[in-house]
């Protein structure tokens, strides 16, 4: 058990049936075709001397002997760590209170908590500046009333603030799933022994929810480490991802450093992922009663009630502020150097709805399909890693996770380079087929779903599967009848994060969209946000994106709640 990064649990460990080998092979081929090959065709220049062929590591020597890159590296590491800390502080109360207590509107809070993830490109940034910027609403009012300003959006601390608000849902979603999966007797036994409140959380609840927390926290760390949009928005350029982006997208220069940094990003992300699996290594998180247990929600009384609602309100107001700003922007006539817009209008919505119906349909199809592909592959990899002990499983996990660190533009170029020459029977290039956008989105968001599926499977006791196999269920029927239903909430969490973030993804899409009629919403948003007059319309489209994705999230949260409720009743 302690020899590998993951404790392989239970039935048939180490047994690779032909069916499983085929499954691993198919996933391997998929990842090779749509991740490894496209990316390698782009970043191999990191290993070439500039302007010629051959192999060299001189570019990596240059990387480490350049002050700027070293500084960027440490800045990225610092910002990522601090973002995890702040994001955890935001996510913990939301996750804990909504899963453990009778909490009015728990599904609503869970949904609202995911919304920050859906930050439409450009429009979200403008809205954020209008609220928290140096001359945003908050600072204009502070200056007016008290004569000072708070630099929310400046320097590395500004990046930490924005990243934490943006990505804390990763922790929220994964932690909530873990919390729901803990057998209630685990906590009741502690309460029975005199433990309550924060100590109960620290000693029992949180340690048992570790798989979900680590999954979420490692995602936040890597995502922040690899995020280029937020630092660039705040004009922070001495971080790694922005440096890679700036160099890869500079016109006409054959600068290998961008690709060198991409390699460094990929390696660093894998390292972080590896460390997070080390943290969980050799520990057993399966809670035996998962099959029948479920959680009982405790009532909240008196001061606890006030504190809980207070904490959640503060967090929600903070993390949803950008979306309030986005909404204001979408109904604003002109909003410039003022706490609120000059006037209000519905014209932006009228314009967007008349011009952009296709964008919305396309987005739902693309992001939905990408989310489905992600949870299917994510569950399959989780099964291979946690239940069969095939070394191939672990490799698939690492490769899929590496997608997190691949800049979208690199993947987009890789897709074009690999598939543009391939012609479909219709005469169209394969790279121009809309399905390629789906695949690119699926690859980009696979790590999210994978981590969620992994955490969900880690919490299912193997004995439940063994029971099914003992009763004559084959391995595949056990998966379908026992594992999948038990993983449902984890899978739903994975789908939601993949879907929601795919719906607003732009960087790879930008390379692959080849006709207006195939374009998703994020692309439409980009088009609007390139002109002063399109700002309101872009914000309106952004609000529509948030609403659609938010509603989908809400529905899936309700489904999970109902599933959980049904299970608790069965026990009673």
């Amino acid at each position: 058990m302690s020899g590998s990064a993951f404790p392989v649990q239970g039935a048939g460990r180490g047994i690779a049936s032909p069916g499983l080998a085929l499954l691993a092979l198919l996933i391997g081929l998929f990842l090779a075709a749509f991740l490894v090959i496209p990316v390698v065709t782009v970043i191999f220049v990191a290993f070439q001397p500039k302007g010629s062929t051959g192999f060299t590591l001189i570019n990596f020597v240059d990387f480490f002997s350049t002050d700027l890159f070293r500084r960027s590296f440490w800045n990225s590491a610092y910002v990522s760590l601090m973002s995890v800390v702040i994001a955890s502080l935001l996510a913990l109360p939301l996750a804990y209170y909504t899963t453990r207590f009778e909490f009015r509107g728990a599904a609503l809070v869970q949904t609202l908590g995911v919304i920050p993830l859906i930050m439409p490109p450009f429009a979200g940034a403008v809205a954020m500046q209008l609220l928290f910027g140096r001359n945003g609403t908050v600072n204009l009012l502070l200056d007016d009333w008290f004569g000072f300003k708070v630099p929310f959006m400046e320097g590395l601390n500004g990046v930490i603030f924005v990243e934490a608000v943006h990505y804390f849902p990763f922790i929220l979603v994964n932690l909530s799933t873990s919390l729901r999966n803990i057998d209630r007797a685990m906590e009741e036994a502690a309460q029975n022994l005199g433990c309550s409140g924060f100590r109960l959380f620290r000693r029992i609840v949180f340690p048992l929810a570790m798989p979900g927390y680590v999954a979420g926290a490692s995602l936040v760390f890597i995502k922040v480490f690899d995020d280029l949009a937020t630092p660039l928005l705040l004009n922070v350029k001495d971080m790694l991802a922005p440096q890679a982006y700036l160099r890869i997208t500079s016109v006409g220069l054959a600068d290998p450093m961008g690709y060198v940094i991409s390699v460094v990003l990929i390696v660093a992300s894998l390292l972080a992922m590896w460390l997070s699996t080390l943290a969980l290594r050799g520990k057993d998180y399966a809670t035996v009663q998962r099959g029948g247990g479920g959680t009982v929600k405790r009532p909240l009384r008196g001061i606890d009630r006030v504190l809980a609602y207070g904490a959640i309100t503060v967090v929600l107001v903070l993390v949803l502020a950008p979306h309030v700003g986005l909404f204001l922007l979408s109904i604003a006539t002109i909003w410039s150097f003022a706490p609120l817009p000059d006037g209000y209008t519905a014209a932006h919505y009228a314009r967007v709805l008349s011009e952009s119906g296709q964008y919305i349909t396309n987005t739902l199809i693309y992001a939905g399909l990408a989310g489905l592909i992600d949870v299917v592959i994510g569950s399959a990899i989780a099964y291979l890693v946690l239940r069969t002990g095939m070394p191939a499983g672990r490799w698939l996990d690492y490769v899929a996770t590496a997608a997190l660190a691949v800049p979208g533009v690199v993947l987009g170029i890789g897709f074009l380079r690999t598939y543009f020459g391939v012609t479909l029977p219709s005469g169209q290039s394969l790279a121009a087929f809309w399905g390629m956008i789906v695949l690119a989105l699926a690859i980009r968001r696979l790590p999210y779903a994978l981590r969620a599926c992994m955490a969900a499977m880690q919490q299912i006791s193997v004995s439940l599967e063994e029971a099914a196999q003992n009763l004559g269920a084959t391995r595949s029927r056990t998966v379908r009848r026992i594992v999948m239903p038990l993983m449902l909430s984890g899978v739903a969490a994975g789908f939601v994060t993949s879907f929601a973030t795919a719906a607003v993804e732009l960087s790879a899409t930008m390379m692959l969209v080849q006709t207006q009629s195939d374009a998703p919403l994020a692309y439409g948003l980009y088009v609007f946000m390139q002109s002063p007059a399109g700002r309101g319309a872009g914000a309106a489209l952004g609000v529509i994106a948030v609403v659609i994705v938010g509603l989908s999230t809400y529905v899936s949260n309700r489904l999970v709640e109902r599933d959980m409720a049904a299970r608790s009743e069965a026990k009673e």
Binding site: S52, L246, V251, G252, L253, S336, L416, T515, V527
Partner: protein
């Protein structure tokens, strides 16, 4: 709205006639990759499709860099007819890689040059269709609330009141910013020019990565002033934002361009579109309040809306100082970008600290003059302005090879960048110390 409808009707009529005269009407889908926004492309699309029934203009919006990469990556199976964007350097890249096809548009009334800058590519691989000049845009509310002055010249932006209130895109990210810097370098000379550039760069609040990030920040009031291309200012005014725009007396006017892509699937359609936007009705569309670009066709200005300048009448364009040596610019293109990034963009905190200290020292001297302090401040300014590379070195083939991967043996890009960054850091720290000493001396 009325002017736009008139323009569309006129376009439909005259181009229909033109098409009939040519005898072979274009048809089918014309695919254009462009960095222009919907506000710009939609009116052109509508007018063109109306003028040539049976054609559709398929617009693919991509930022300039992504557009260039896209055309480069898809050349094996090219599906793009036209590349349509502002930055001349992007066209230069495409041209150098043999991805454009030469075409001489059937257009009249378009001069060869605007000021000293050629409107069309001399080899005919791309054509200018609108003129754009760089200038200073500011948010009126911001400026009034902070009791700040209204600028007239680049040098104004280097003075103390503007500290931390200005924004600009990095020249490596914006072709037009690059040309503005280059124009300053050419008119003021290498050393002095960099002095001006670094002096106002020290006042920047931030160096943005997107050209549009600058007008965006000015429009929303996050910064007071932006160094922008003119139509950003004009179209923001057109959209109702409280902003103003001015051309400094030494600016540069550069054309925004369109070029036919090599092996275009619908070459006839592509050429028809080029002809169309250079025709009288096509040029008139540029006056649309949401576009507000300056036509290259001089006669079009007779119908220009109020407030829109005619760049062909700018006096400074005739000034010999605004002479623009295209060849010189080409040779040191990458070096200028990299120098700016290493000396300014990535050392911005140090540069700002030194600049702030110099402003403070100036203020101290104004209160209590001291020759010693004045000498120290002058030294500090000189330290900020110092360049690690001479004009000749910057334009050398070795330097170009370091950036573009040419054959000439020389230092690698990463080595140069590290050297320059270290140089700048050291000098800015020294300048800071001198300026602080000057403040002490004037106490």
């Amino acid at each position: 709205m009325i002017s736009r409808r008139v323009a569309l009707a006129a376009a439909a009529l005259s181009v229909a006639l033109a098409g009939a005269a040519h005898g072979q009407a274009p048809s089918g889908k014309v695919t254009v990759v462009t960095s222009f926004s919907k506000e710009v492309t939609d009116p052109f699309k509508a007018a063109f499709e109306k003028a040539f029934p049976g054609t559709t203009l398929e617009v693919q919006n991509r930022n300039t860099n992504a557009g260039v990469k896209f055309i480069e990556e898809t050349k094996s199976n090219n599906g793009v007819d036209l590349f349509w964007a502002s930055a001349p350097d992007a066209f230069e890249v495409l041209k150098a890689k043999g991805l454009l096809e030469a075409y001489k548009p059937k257009a009249d009334g378009i001069p060869d040059k605007i000021g000293h800058f050629p409107i069309n590519d001399p080899q005919g691989f791309y054509s200018g269709f609108a003129a754009s000049g760089y200038g200073i845009m500011w948010n009126d509310r911001y400026v009034k609330a902070n009791k700040l002055p209204e600028p007239k010249e680049w040098e104004d932006l280097a003075t103390a009141p503007y500290f931390d209130h200005v924004s600009m895109a990095a020249p490596s990210r914006s072709g037009t910013t690059h040309l503005t810097i280059e124009a300053i370098l050419q008119s003021a000379g290498w050393e002095k020019g960099w002095g001006i550039v670094k002096a106002f760069s020290g006042n920047l609040r931030g160096v943005t990565e997107r050209s549009f990030g600058v007008p965006d920040a000015v429009n929303s009031g996050q910064v007071g002033y932006g160094i922008v291309i003119d139509f950003f200012g004009f179209s923001a005014q057109g959209a109702g934002f409280p902003v103003k725009f001015v051309y400094p007396s030494l600016s540069t006017i550069v054309p925004a361009n369109i070029g036919v892509v090599k092996n275009a699937p619908n070459a006839a359609g592509a050429k028809a579109f080029v002809d169309f936007i250079l025709s009288e009705p096509g040029q008139a569309i540029l006056f649309d309040p949401k576009i507000r670009r300056l036509p290259v066709r001089t006669a079009s200005y007779a119908k220009a809306p109020a407030g829109l300048p005619n760049p062909f009448e700018f006096k400074w364009l005739a000034d010999p100082k605004s002479k623009f040596d295209v060849e010189k610019s080409e040779k040191r293109f990458a070096a200028v970008d990299a120098l700016y990034d290493q000396l300014v963009t990535f050392q911005h905190e140090a540069l700002k600290a030194a600049t702030k200290a110099i402003h403070d020292a100036d203020a101290a001297i104004a209160r209590k003059p001291s020759p010693e302090a004045s000498r120290l401040v002058a030294e500090a300014r000189a330290l900020v302005a110092r360049m690690p590379v001479s004009e000749a070195e910057a334009a050398s083939p070795e330097m170009a090879a370091a950036f573009t991967g040419g054959k000439e043996k020389g230092p690698r890009q990463a080595e140069l960048e590290q050297k320059w960054a270290a140089y700048a850091k050291e000098n800015y720290a020294a300048a800071l110390a001198k300026a602080q000493a000057a403040q002490q001396a004037a106490k």
